[in-house]
């Protein structure tokens, strides 16, 4: 008993003995893990539009730390690197056009028949989020969070809070949330005064200082378990934005009331450069109120899950939109799955959406040719494939194609504009890799 005996491995002998005892080989492997207190969700995203337009490369990560009693802290970070060009709001012409860069320090040219694109749009954006989740009593949950983001010309600071309460043996959940954002804009070169002309290189006489924008969001929601295989949700959202809502880099072409062609500038272009034609900076209202109704259902049928959602949005800029999103998750062997995805989107144009400004008419109060405020349809079609790695972690990859095609209201087309394709349709490829561990 006093002699220290070595620790010999007896597993093999014991396994053999157990095998004889139980009369058969045990058909299982051992998989017993202590779950980590931390959960990580990471992804790499590529977004690319065709025709040299916007490209985005993004890395995202969320780390969640679980505590006793279902409390949790989650910290998120996103880094976006943006390159490429975006339509600047001017219309195509049959001649070369030149534009002063937003900074006022240079100019760029666009060929005949080309869609004017501004490629000053290179930026890196970093965003951080934090969220604390706290159960209150048996049936309530409180979430409090904050967010911060920063890019060259824009900083954002936000806070949000949400309360959710369960009823009917947790079959019904009612939630209410509030978010408030305070954003600061410091456009390159300074925000231009609305509806003033684009000036020559070096001339920043029509620029204003920093701008800001506040946004209040309220969301009220109900989630209901309908049956063992169906759960539905409905949310009403209200959003109020106040402040500088204009895009400081976008212009509209000032056109002749008969021909629809963009008016040439008065006087010659200076040596340093300047706009070849007359362009006016856009102008949007300084308030916007949106209402949305969102409903979603998740339905389990025969091992597969159908996710279908519909959102209706209407606002006081007279934009109405409908979004239908469908996903179908199809499990495959070995803990993997395939998930096709279809999304249909349609919106009507903003009240002040205008293809170009008619020189023979009084100047409108608000005007923008931003394609994102126009009348267009969007379709997304994609496929996602997910699997479990050897270490038991989840990986996924998805590839999607997003296409937008729009129309300019007939009443806005003047003269020669009818011969051209005026709406900058969009085709984008989305590729995303995800890894959770």
């Amino acid at each position: 008993m006093s002699r220290t005996e070595g620790n010999k491995p007896i597993s093999a002998a014991l396994a053999a003995a157990t095998c004889s005892l139980l009369g058969s080989a045990i058909p299982t492997q051992v998989d017993a893990q202590e779950p980590s207190d931390w959960d990580f969700n990471t992804s790499i995203l590529y977004y690319g539009e065709d025709n040299d337009r916007v490209e985005d490369f993004s890395v995202k990560a969320i780390a969640r730390r679980m505590f006793v009693d279902d409390r949790s802290l989650s910290l998120g970070m996103t880094v976006d690197v943006l390159t490429g060009a975006t339509p600047n709001g001017a219309i195509k012409q049959d001649v070369v056009q030149t534009f002063t860069r937003p900074s006022g320090n240079g100019f760029y040219s666009v060929g005949p028949g080309e869609l004017p694109l501004d490629d000053t749009f290179k930026d890196t954006r970093v965003a951080l989020t934090a969220n604390w989740q706290q159960p209150v009593g048996d049936t309530s949950l409180v979430n409090i969070g904050g967010s911060v983001s920063s890019e060259y010309d824009y900083t954002h600071l936000g806070i949000n809070a949400k309360v959710a309460r369960d009823f009917n043996q947790r079959n019904t959940t009612v939630s209410a949330g509030l978010a408030y954002s305070m954003d600061d804009l410091d456009p390159v070169g300074g925000a231009p005064m609305p509806l003033t002309p684009m000036l020559d290189v070096g001339d920043t006489s029509n620029r204003m200082g920093d701008q800001d924008k506040d946004v209040l969001d309220v969301v009220l929601g109900v989630t209901q378990v309908v049956s063992r295989t169906l759960v539905v949700q409905a949310n009403y959202s209200y959003s109020y934005s106040d402040g500088y809502l204009t895009d400081p880099y976008k212009v509209l072409s000032l056109v002749d009331g008969v021909t629809g062609d963009t008016l040439l500038r008065t006087g010659g272009i200076p040596v340093e450069g300047g706009p070849s034609h007359q362009f006016l900076f856009e102008s949007r209202p300084d308030e916007r109120t949106k209402h949305s109704l969102y409903t979603q259902a998740k339905y389990y049928v025969d091992g597969k899950v159908l996710d279908i959602s519909y959102r209706f949005m209407t606002d006081d800029w007279e934009i109405d939109s409908h979004t239908v999103d469908l996903r179908y998750r199809w499990p495959l062997a070995g803990d993997s799955y395939i998930e096709p995805h279809l999304r249909f989107y349609t919106q009507s144009e903003a009240e002040f959406y205008l293809l170009s400004i008619d020189n023979s008419q009084p100047l409108p109060r608000y005007a923008s040719n931003d394609y994102r405020l126009g009348d267009f349809d969007g379709i997304t079609a994609g496929l996602k494939y997910g699997w479990r790695t050897g270490a038991g972690n989840d990986m996924s990859v998805r590839v999607e194609w997003y296409q937008q095609s729009g129309t300019v209201p007939g009443s806005q087309i003047i003269g020669n504009q009818a011969n051209r394709d005026n709406y900058p349709d969009l085709n984008a490829l989305i590729v995303q890799f995800g890894y959770r561990f």
Binding site: S43, S58, K60, I62, G76, T78, D123, R125, A127, T129, S147, S149, E151, D153, Y154, H156, G158, N168, N171, G177, D217, V219, V222, Q224, V225, V226, S227, R228, T229, V231, Q233, A234, N235, Y236, S239, D247, S292, L293, Y294, K298, Y300, V305, R311, F312, M313, W317, I319, S321, T323, R329, Y337, Y345, A350, R372, G378, S396, Y402, I430, Q432, G434
Partner: protein
Amino acid sequence: MTRTIGFLAAALLLCGGCSSMGVEPWDRDILAMEEMQLTTDELEAATDDHIYFSKEASSGGRGFGGGGCGCN
């Protein structure tokens, strides 16, 4: 605005009939599956929200995203 109220009323009516709907606690096996959660992949949802917020005039619906950006 009247359309909004109409939709809201429809949603509330849906809730009114809900008090007796549901399942017993021991029948929640399928509902507990990860793929049956309303948001299955938080990052993918955040990514999509951000892409469509940047390219369209509508945003959110499910909740609120993590923050603004200079894209719209």
